[in-house]
């Protein structure tokens, strides 16, 4: 029995895309199972037995069940160490830096960026009005975070070193969404951040995620 990734229908949420990026980087066979979230399938059994918090994504790999996108990407990176792209490293000091920037994505980048994604991308898809006060507040916060990234990426090609890692991968979905929004200039006006974005978004695995996403649009 292969891997199943449970997620949303179109538009695929960033958290789900994060997992898809990982399965593609590792060149794994999988089935994508879009849930009928409009009818609340994610808040009922049987899905709740996969994710008791009633959120997407979830993943099944044989008899192993996981939820929380960053736990899933971490599991995939560890379990399939010998397949596809190396997302981790055995060098303990280098791995420590991967861990730092994995946390940075989760606790500094995502909370701010996801609010902007919601206001500027998601709401647009559903024809809703963005809250410009929220947009302005989070644009300012994102600018500060990206200043730190710019300094970091001046020294290194990727966030945790010279190789693409789990830390960069976890950023892909929201970087993708925001680079297709009115805040893309925050990324473009920082040359090292801009180069990094272009690089990671052009990875074959990410292009596969976007292709799958477009297919679901129907």
């Amino acid at each position: 029995m292969g891997i199943k990734v449970y997620g949303s229908d179109y538009p695929i949420t960033p958290n789900v895309m994060r997992v898809l990026a990982a399965v593609y980087e590792k060149e794994l066979e999988f089935d994508y199972v879009p849930l009928d979230m409009k009818s609340g399938a994610h808040k009922q059994m049987p899905y709740l037995s996969l994710n008791p918090f009633g959120q997407v994504p979830a993943l099944e790999d044989g008899d192993i069940k996981l939820f929380e996108s960053r736990a899933i990407t971490r599991y995939i990176a560890n379990e399939y160490e010998n397949k596809g792209t190396q997302l981790l490293t055995k060098d303990t000091k280098k791995m420590a830096l991967v861990e730092v920037w994995v946390e940075v994505e989760a606790l500094h980048f995502d909370p701010v960026a996801i609010k902007l994604g919601w206001e500027l991308v998601y709401k647009k898809i559903f024809d809703m009005e963005p809250d410009m006060a929220v947009v302005e507040e989070n644009k300012a916060k994102l600018a500060k975070v990206l200043d730190v990234f710019e300094a970091r990426l001046t020294q290194l090609k990727y966030l945790a070193g010279e190789a693409f890692s789990l830390a960069d991968l976890n950023h892909l979905p929201i970087v993708h969404y925001l680079m297709n929004s009115q805040v893309k200039q925050l990324f473009e006006e920082r040359p090292n951040v801009s180069a990094w974005c272009k690089d990671i978004l052009s990875r074959p695995s990410w292009i596969k995620v976007v292709t799958l996403h477009e297919k679901l649009k129907g």
Partner: protein, 217 residues
Amino acid sequence: MGVKVYGIPHSTATLRVLAAVHEKELEYELVPVDLRSGAHKQEPFISINPFEQIPAFEDGDLTLFESRAITKYIAYTNEGKGTSLISKQGKEMADLAVWMEVEAHQFDPVSTKLAWELVYKVFFGMEIDNAIVEENEAKLAKVLDVYEVRLAMSKYLAGDSFTLADLHHLPGLQYLNGTKVKHLFDERPHVSAWCKDILARPAWEKVMALQKQARND
């Protein structure tokens, strides 16, 4: 040469790291950071943590920040010492990954808001926002319902052994245990047993003793 932890023993994130160094029985130095004078927003601290927050960590020429990255480094580089805090294969590793994320994304945001209102504000004589307390008490109840089901299946969150998934909760649990939302934990028998168990760990008691001493200094 031991490791250095930069921070203060009242900050939950610093406490998270101190719990790990004590579980691993490491030699370390706690280097205080004078938040009031803005030391965390200046050099030399910002070279260690450009996000201007405590804690930070130094092991020789390696500097780290983000408490949950630091605890992982401590756990993985000291596998032969003290308590094993991790699992490396298969299902146990998967469960550890899941419940570390649950602590960070489901428990901590709610716990932090409640601790701010019911511990920090009280300590500094500031007015509590009851709407925030009520909203987050309700959210915490829902989170703990999930924990109750989980802890009926295994002694600790990621299985039958104490791991980082449990350890990361310690500072939040300690603070909330001294507030009116304690009843949410007490009312759920498996959650209650788990809380009592992990808060009574000798390593955590050492951290609490350190905190108490810092208060008296």
